[in-house]
């Protein structure tokens, strides 16, 4: 894809010690920015993407030509108002939109690194993205924000760099991946690894890709992003371009057709090995365990203001898990706000047009920016 030329990136020269024990250096980290960094350099927001996201949070993604994944939230006059704030978003390491990942070509063999890529963690992702602050010469971010895996990165970022962000917005996430979360991720990985085109992860990325496996992984995951009520209301038992059941295994139902479509468009933009690596990173995420079983300790050093948001119909990262983070923060007297937004749109709510959610973030950020500057808090 020649459009990859349009991707901005920094090369991280310093060695980065990964949790798996390996060290990487001289690797690319692709990023995109929106809005302008002000003179005081106090208006930067680092946004972290979720499992299948990338650095193109807003506007048109130049590689896929699709809308940015957080187009509802990031842009002029939007929740993350780029007329006020400078939004930075990077592709995580392990990803497939220009950052160092399993799809990166190994010059020695002129083939993708594939499964020779080291297993990475949320901690590694965050440590790599921290170099962006040096790149932009930003002493302190105004905020870090993200939903789902992006929220996990928010938590890890504040834990690793306690005073590098004034505000933290972890949305629809968890401090520790649950057995159910791991189970769904494993289902996706098995779908990919069962595809004969996967070839132990050493497919060439051109002639043959484990597209079928990746599509099934996406279909399964997609169900977890929606609520039962949402699915029922949108599709019910509606039939797909037919008036009656066909007594076969074609997509009789609209929901089948919808999922197949979601799977088929996903493989055009995502690398199967990246899917394996990133879901692994999510599964390994356990901030509570990182701090000896006490989540509060993760935030002990921090003066960051937290604003945590969950959604009523999100059963993948339910309110109770988001609330555990609130409880851990309250236990150390941290500055924390929390609201559960009422919606039928499931886990995906954070990516969708949920006006209550978007307007609360918008108002919170602008009020907090003013409050901090007036030293009220």
């Amino acid at each position: 894809m020649s459009n990859f030329d349009k991707i901005k990136s920094i090369t991280i020269k310093q060695p980065l010690k990964l949790d798996c024990g390996k060290e990487i250096s001289n690797f690319p980290l692709a990023y995109e920015t929106y809005g302008n960094l002000n003179e005081k350099k106090d208006n930067a927001i680092l946004v972290f993407h979720a499992l299948t996201g990338d650095q193109f949070a807003s506007g048109q993604n130049p590689v896929t030509n699709k809308e940015g994944w957080w187009n509802y939230a990031v842009g002029p006059g939007k929740a993350f108002d780029t007329q006020k704030f400078f939004v930075i978003c990077a592709n995580v390491i392990g990803g497939c939109m220009g950052s160092y990942g399993p799809g990166t070509i190994d010059p020695k063999i002129n083939k993708p690194i594939g499964t020779n890529f080291p297993v990475i963690t949320i901690n590694d992702m965050v440590n790599a993205q921290h170099y962006l602050l040096d790149h932009f010469k930003i002493e302190r971010l105004f905020a870090v924000a993200g939903g789902s895996m992006g929220g996990m990165q928010v938590l890890q970022f504040v834990s690793n760099f306690p005073n590098k962000a004034k505000v933290a917005l972890p949305i629809a996430c968890t401090a520790s991946h649950s057995a159910q979360n791991i189970a769904f991720n494993e289902l996706g990985r098995q779908a990919i690894m069962s595809d004969t085109n996967w070839k132990d992860g050493l497919y060439d990325g051109k002639t043959s890709n484990p597209d079928k496996g990746l599509a099934v992984a996406r279909m399964a995951a997609h169900i977890t992003y929606l609520s039962k009520k949402g699915l029922q209301e949108k599709f019910g038992r509606n039939l797909q371009e037919r008036s009656d059941l066909k007594f076969g295994f074609d997509a009789d139902f609209q929901i089948e057709s919808y999922l197949r479509y979601q799977g088929s468009v996903f493989v055009d933009r995502f690398d199967a090995n990246s899917y394996l690596y990133i879901t692994r990173a999510m599964d390994y995420f356990d901030l509570t365990k990182q701090h000896g079983g006490n989540l509060s300790k993760a935030f002990k050093e921090s003066k960051t203001k937290f604003f945590i948001i969950s959604f009523t119909s999100d059963w993948l990262y339910p309110t109770s898990e988001n609330k555990d983070i609130v409880i851990a923060l309250n236990a150390i007297g941290a500055d924390v706000g929390f609201v559960e937004i009422k919606t039928d749109k499931g886990h995906d709510s954070f990516l969708l047009d949920v006006p209550d959610f978007l307007s609360t973030i918008k108002n919170y950020l602008s009020a907090t920016y003013i409050n901090i500057n007036e030293r009220r808090i």
Binding site: K305, F307, V326, I327, N330, A331, G333, D335, V336, G337, F338, V339, E340, I341, K342, D356, S359, T360, N363, Y364, A367, T368, I370, N371, R376, I377
Partner: protein, 198 residues
């Protein structure tokens, strides 16, 4: 500004940590931030009100005081405020216990059911009273446990809770309540404001 909030604000020392339980729209929190150097947090049950608070940048957590006070460690706030909400809980006794555990000092305000207008209403009309502070009908009121200033005073004494200050509020007028004027103040106060300690 509500007279009640002025009185509450006067009871609070500078540079203290304050938790406003049932903070509503956050008006008292805003007032305290404007007039005092304090670190103030809120707990509120209504999603709509929590969103309003957060939209103003206030540190408010959505939750129910009957369950969610548990998450705050012992004596983690200098002051915990409960403004005109005690009567709405299933178990006011347990909530007060939790407030006294979380806060070094506790400020409780109660709409006084002993006010003479209420007594007159009940005596002559024989109907449940409806007033400015208690605007509900008996069948839709969220106020499950109404009490008088005298009742709350007795409650504190029975439970061994120290009352540091008791203030009567009647319209714009504030005055001190003492053991000797208690019977009279219980008749003329719309609101009782109590500063407590375990």
């Amino acid at each position: 500004m509500k007279e009640e909030f002025k009185v509450i604000s006067k009871l609070i020392d500078e540079k203290s940590r304050v938790l406003d339980v049932g903070c509503g729209d956050g008006i008292l929190m805003e007032y305290l931030l404007k007039n005092k150097v304090v670190d103030v947090r809120g707990l509120e049950i209504s999603k709509e009100k929590v969103k309003k608070c957060l939209s103003n940048g206030l540190a408010v957590v959505e939750g129910n005081a009957e369950y969610d006070l548990k998450q705050f460690p012992d004596l983690s706030f200098d002051y915990v405020i409960l403004s005109q909400t005690l009567q709405a809980f299933m178990s006011p006794e347990n909530v007060i216990k939790d407030l006294l555990r979380v806060g070094k000092k506790v400020i409780v305000t109660i709409p006084n059911f002993g006010h003479w207008k209420i007594r007159v209403d009940l005596l002559f009309k024989g109907e449940m009273p409806i007033t400015k502070n208690l605007p509900y009908e008996w069948y839709n009121t969220p106020n499950l446990h109404m009490c008088t200033i005298q009742d709350f005073y007795n409650f504190c004494n029975n439970k061994g809770i120290n009352i540091f200050k008791t203030i009567s509020l009647n319209g714009q007028k504030t005055s001190k309540i003492t053991p000797s004027n208690l019977k009279y103040k219980n008749l003329i106060s719309e609101l009782g404001i109590f500063l407590l300690e375990k």
